[in-house]
Symmetry: D2
Subunit: 254 residues, 4 copies
């Protein structure tokens, strides 16, 4: 069992005059950041600003590509082909990479967003398309996806480094999928309970499902949701609990 | 005087189901290609396809960033700040670079498109913003702009390699600017006349203006317009004339 | 059996500098036009131009709303809610109506485009959302959809006038659905065969399926595809055959 | 001198998941609302919601069309032609009108947004294009613009009803233009001072300029900025002052 864990959050999801998320605060607490690339959220100004903010906080930078659906925030499934997915991921990864490179830094990882993340968790062809985009752009770039999902399998099959992600504040089903948000108890709000789940995931490699069974879960990073009003409380509770358990919080690439 | 010259054209300007330009034919005749990056034209699928097509024809690949104005094809001036220009150029350059890198190739140059090109020719602050984006992303990447313009001056001042561009099929004013398209005789159509102008630009470093004066012009590349119906005839006449004059046609980076 | 039929085609699908379809020619041959509204294709300039063109040819004008997916031409299914569909149809219908009203004319009908059309043919909730948008905007506006589909049923249930559409150049399955385009023989190309099918649909209310069975079909309009290279030949053959059969070609609203 | 005045504010400027403005609170205090139409801000869902909200508060509804520049919030000047302006205003007005009509209400007015508003205040051709769009769509719809500007002149010349607008919280220059926001003292923050200016505008038809001269101003509506953090305090102070001065607050169309 690993005695270290990465905490990641999605940032840079503002757009134009619109403000989304509390990036400056969140980046104090995590070890890797997934920055929106302009398709589901974000714009060139926001990408530049967020890259700089992440570097100031010494947080590893990843691309967070999404479906081309700004008005739907990339949360609506679209019938896209593997080829289209390869192309949209490559485009967005490249765009973010430019801001990272312009600041003299390195792109650490790629984690798809929203509907693209969920579709790639289940659909091996779409998953492979994403993994290929990463591999062809930079084989040393790591691919973050739902632990145990098709995306992780696809990345492994291509020989790139994959990083399984767990959600400490989301209920799990017995098959390893996340309980849909519209179900009761899909989202956990108690900071202490969430923090305990993180320790369990890191130390024992398992999480208790909604059906009260144990689910084995191989995760090297925990997603911190930034859009929740109590996100800061959650991440603080998690960090305290991890410290008490003597589990190191560090980027998965370190 | 140089005894070699580069011929460049704008390609990859299709979008979705829409077809623009005759890329496959044009790429047989030029030595560098400026590929649209999705803001004024182009999309991820088109970028991938065009990068591959350019590589097949052994044509050097440049990014062709434009203003975020798809419906106006990036031809309408916008009141953008230097910061916004830096960011939009960096974004687009990075996006195209990803497709180039995924194919194992190298980004040769950046040439702004349409209104951005014209604004940067006259406005030193916008010009510097573009040059900085290129320099910070890759100082070995070359910056193509109107010969003698502020964009060239800005790139020179920053120490990156600049490439002056001349338009063989466009009339020039005595101040070195292009005669606006809505003026009479702004566009030259006779292939022989256009070809002769190219030889004059390469060999003598000058072109005759609309006012019948000589204009000194320091160009290392000639723009071939692809959207004209007789683009192919023009470029063929130019190549024949250059061959007769024993002027080599080669990429400016070679 | 009706002894008259409407011929409709999708027009105004150009965008910005991009040209799509042969509207001027097509509009000579049809009796109703579905004009793109800017989401999957079309833009304000094109909408104005196409409305005028349709009026010049005395062709009834309908709105042709699509999914917000310009790069995919509205052909990719999206996981949209009935509420979102209601809103996107109302928005686009209103936008087109403004151009029609500015020219002193009347909006005749609404026909959804591409993936929205297909989704609404099968999904009653989405179908009802479209029908409600039409009803609330203008109950005298007619709703065009696949003959026998959920969209037609939804419109009928709401009490608005519906118009069943048939595709003379597409193969049908026994369940009344269109044979997917990626199947063999999905598209019929022989003008004579297509024209004969139109007469059969009008006169006998039936069409022969791919499985060689008779399919009852209650259609008051036939779709003429404009994006096919031989669209003009098809529509000419259809009109000749209809004239020979003494079937009147007239708008369904006349 | 009028003893009544309209208070208007810009609303519906959220987009997708992004929240902008405090519409629900603002609509309690104003008599007309300008609703964004999707080009600079707003989307179909927001338009529907905001139309309903305005109707609940018995506030007159106007269209608030802007330049097609979502990332720039329609605040960046664009080199658009009168024809393009006519088309983009007509499109947006129609889109909003559909939501108003679907709720059984009437579109009261049109007020251009941001850069389009400012450009139309100075450029008579663009102003005329906007006025023509309003006139051709619905001659009974009123046109709101900067008091004394070219937009008002253009509407008057076409014979539609125009409504001059004044800004109580913005400094004026002697020529009647607004002091640019980047100048010192361009924005007034003291609620009492702003309220006094409103009374002066209504009762005396004049405002004191930054140069301390009197400027005659013929305004029938006062703009309440919703994006300011103390917008609510401002509008409350204005309403109290108006009540004390026995000036009625009512929609200009009533």
């Amino acid at each position: 069992m690993a005695e270290r864990i990465d905490l990641n959050c999605d940032v840079g999801e503002s757009f134009g005059v619109y403000h989304g998320g509390n990036d400056a605060e969140l980046l104090r607490h995590v070890t890797s950041a997934n920055i929106a690339c302009g398709f589901h959220a974000g714009d060139p100004a926001m990408m530049r600003k967020t890259v700089r903010l992440a570097l100031e906080h010494n947080v590893a930078i990843g691309a967070h590509p999404g479906l081309p659906d700004l008005v739907g925030f990339g949360r609506r499934n679209m019938q896209v082909t593997p080829r289209e997915v390869y192309e949209m991921v490559l485009y967005q990864m490249g765009a973010l990479h430019a801001f990272v490179r312009a600041e003299g830094a390195k792109l650490s990882h790629v984690k798809p967003h929203g509907a693209l993340y969920n579709m790639a968790a289940r659909d091996r062809e779409l998953a492979t398309a994403i993994a290929e985009a990463v591999q062809r752009f930079d084989p040393s770039c790591q691919l973050v996806g739902l632990a145990g999902s098709e995306l992780i399998h696809a990345g492994d099959a291509l020989g790139i480094t994959t990083v399984g992600e767990a959600f400490a504040d989301r209920a799990y089903e017995t098959d390893g999928s996340l309980t849909p948000r519209d179900q009761p108890f899909a989202v956990l709000c108690d900071p202490q309970e969430v923090a305990n789940r993180v320790v369990s995931i890191v130390r024992e490699g398992k999480v208790v499902t909604r059906q009260n069974t144990d689910l084995l879960i191989d995760a090297r990073t925990i997603c911190i949701h930034g859009d929740s009003p109590h996100a800061i409380h959650l991440v603080q509770a998690i960090r305290e609990q991890l410290q008490a358990a003597k589990i190191e919080v560090a980027h998965f690439g370190s």
